[in-house]
Symmetry: C2
């Protein structure tokens, strides 16, 4: 079978499976998920053996130790993966909920009902546990999935997907509910992106160039998870203790994630007070500060001078770009010009200034006096997360189970016709 | 200025205008809409003169009389256009509404707030009143619009857009809130579709090839308005009077629209009874029936034999494909294989069969005992409609004002940080 036939065959099978999945009860889907969790446990040896092949290949190819760590599975990690599947089974099922319902003057009853999207394509890199995490969220919401993982993890991904499919089939779910692209050929991504007949939505999770490639080729909606260039603005009326705590938390608690901040903007009136205290705390936490002239002057040689690029960079590291601004407007302008519309925060005691920031900053999540690190499905109370969308349509910000559904209108009448 | 510069300049201006529009109150936006309505009235002579140039050109180019009718404006049509703008001003504003709101155990308050999308691109054909209809719905919801109308109507569209912009500016709205692409160069569509930096969503309204061209080039979400191949299934437990009324209404009340039906599927047990009575009524209403063998036999030469293509064709005319089926499953299979997932209906007295149909037919709007002609923003009670989406994501079915908005999360805390 050539590659195109292979991918289209996956598409056809996923589409057929999606029709069956959409009609299953929550109980049937949950039974399937529990069987999948058990199959992961039962297939532990097989999964670890496959993973060992991936790791050996990665070492031979000279992958960094951080990448190797992300790739490597252990018995504990497989158990955790299975535990994650059981947790998804325990979540409430959004499918079938009435979003709204109303009766028209002519007596027809219109119900807007949550339904599965159909077939979801997920394209991701490196971490093999994404195979399981993403697939089971789709199963829970009655969607079929076509997964395309990174080439480094192909053996692990195949073993995990096979276990999940066995679990699905054993519990009476369609065996094609979860399909993994069994090749590392890069052309497969392009073929998936063009296959709007069989894939209703694509979620690329990975680096900028992966997402770009999918966007350029896609004919169906793509929910993009671009990077997070997030900022905290410390207003002249900020409580500086709160400001320091939030900046330190948002920068240092986990610097490698998208909801960590890359930039702090401080009002000129409080810049000296903030940087004398908060700046030292940042430095003590190992943060390198790249400041504009004013910041460098206040920090007396303890900050590096910021380059233009630093305002547009997701460092994913203990590096913070710092700038003094003259007003909330200048802060908002900076965020709109340099940020990535992900998560941004104002620290102030002034509710009017806060409301302006909350309304005018065009980001998925905008904070007043709280850390940007809360942009997360778990922290929002969603129970699960497929990622954090930087798109505006369909899903914006943390994507939970609801964001894996769409709706249809069901209309019940007694013979009404249009006049 | 070359074409690319021209389009990108529109994009930049629209983006800047969208930032201002998003911050306006409902009162300010409504004042702008009323001023736009007045400018349309005041510019009537100018608009009609421009339209006369379009019509003269169209006649010289040999456009069909149906197309000419769609293109031609009259004083009454301009007044109706202005009246439409005033009606939009009177509708409730969805922007700023809290979709949901909750407090987390750590005390942060999460509000999911409806906000404008930003810049909406609208690509349409022929009817110049779309310029006004689409633009004002976008203004109402705080979005900037870039409009790209058909070449036949370019002079009319320019005159209408100029009047709307004057109204906007006079009422203190940004003059760039409504921008019309001032060229008929087809390359402009491609450039718009690639300009995801400045356009957040594109709505193509027109023929299949126009939509296809946009989908192929677009980097941003496209809300597609494909055609409607809609069906009514008359179940063996149907009330045949209701069935006849619905089929006649859905086929003949306005055959040229997307929510009219193209196909009737009738259960074998009631086929003779239905076609003897309902078939005659259809024929009396001037409907040409293209039937399968069973239908042709029942109608004894009054039906034409259906060709394979007839099951997949949007006739937009008094033509109806008719088929006898043996079960609701066969009806659902037919609709899933040949329909366009727009609007489909079952007529039955059996609630179990009805629920199966409502759940299993994967269309934007599924009816039980009511005409498919109700798939319409006005009939749904939306007050306005920008079209009927055949897409599954963001907007499905009739698109009203809410579907021209997205959401953001505003989070209010008292210094919370993540542990």
């Amino acid at each position: 079978m050539d590659l195109k036939e292979l991918i289209y065959d996956l598409g056809r099978r996923a589409r057929a499976a999606s029709k069956q999945l959409a009609q299953l009860s929550s109980e049937q889907k949950n039974a399937g998920l529990l069987a999948m969790a058990q199959e992961l446990i039962d297939a532990q040896a097989e999964i670890l053996a496959a993973n060992a092949r991936d790791v050996a290949r990665a070492k031979a190819n000279g992958l960094s130790s951080a990448m190797l760590d992300r790739l490597t599975l252990t018995p504990a990690r497989v158990v955790k993966m299975a535990e994650g599947v059981r947790q998804v089974a325990a979540l409430p099922d959004p499918v079938g909920q009435a979003i709204s319902q109303w009766t028209r003057p002519n007596g027809i009853l219109i119900s807007k009902i949550r339904v599965p999207i159909g077939v979801i394509g997920i394209i991701f890199e490196s971490r093999p546990n994404v195979t399981s995490d993403a697939a089971v969220l789709c199963t829970k919401t009655g969607n079929a999935t076509i997964l395309r993982g990174g080439s480094e993890a192909i053996d692990s991904n195949l073993a995990i997907a096979a276990a999940l499919s066995r679990g699905a089939a054993r519990a009476g779910l369609p065996a094609d509910a979860i399909l993994l692209v069994p090749t590392t050929d890069r052309e497969a991504v392009k073929l998936m992106a063009g296959m709007d007949r069989f894939i209703d939505m694509i979620v690329p999770r990975g680096g900028h160039s992966l997402i770009e490639a999918v966007v350029a080729a896609a004919r169906m909606p793509v929910i993009k998870h671009y990077n997070g260039i997030c900022a905290v603005y410390v207003d002249k009326e900020a409580d500086l203790d709160i400001a320091r705590n939030i900046v330190i938390n948002a920068k240092t608690q986990r610097p490698g994630v998208c909801n960590a901040i890359e930039t702090v903007l401080v009002h000129r009136d409080v810049a000296e007070a903030f940087f004398k205290n908060g700046g030292s705390a940042l430095l003590e936490n190992g943060v390198q500060i790249r400041g504009d002239e004013a910041v460098c002057a206040i920090l007396e040689g303890k900050a590096l001078p910021a380059k233009e690029d630093d305002w547009n960079t997701e460092f994913l590291d203990l590096i913070l770009a710092a700038r003094v601004v003259d007003s909330v407007d200048e802060a908002i302008d900076h965020i709109e010009s340099h940020g990535s519309h992900h998560s941004d925060c104002i620290v102030t005691k002034n509710p009017e200034i806060a409301e302006r920031f909350l309304n005018e900053v065009d980001s998925a999540t905008v904070y007043w006096n709280a850390s940007t690190r809360f942009t997360d499905g778990g922290e929002f109370g969603f129970g699960a997360e497929i990622g954090i969308s930087t798109d505006k349509l369909h899903a914006r910000g943390p994507m939970g189970l609801e964001e894996l559904t769409t709706y249809k209108y069901q209309i019940r009448g007694t013979g009404q016709v249009r006049e």
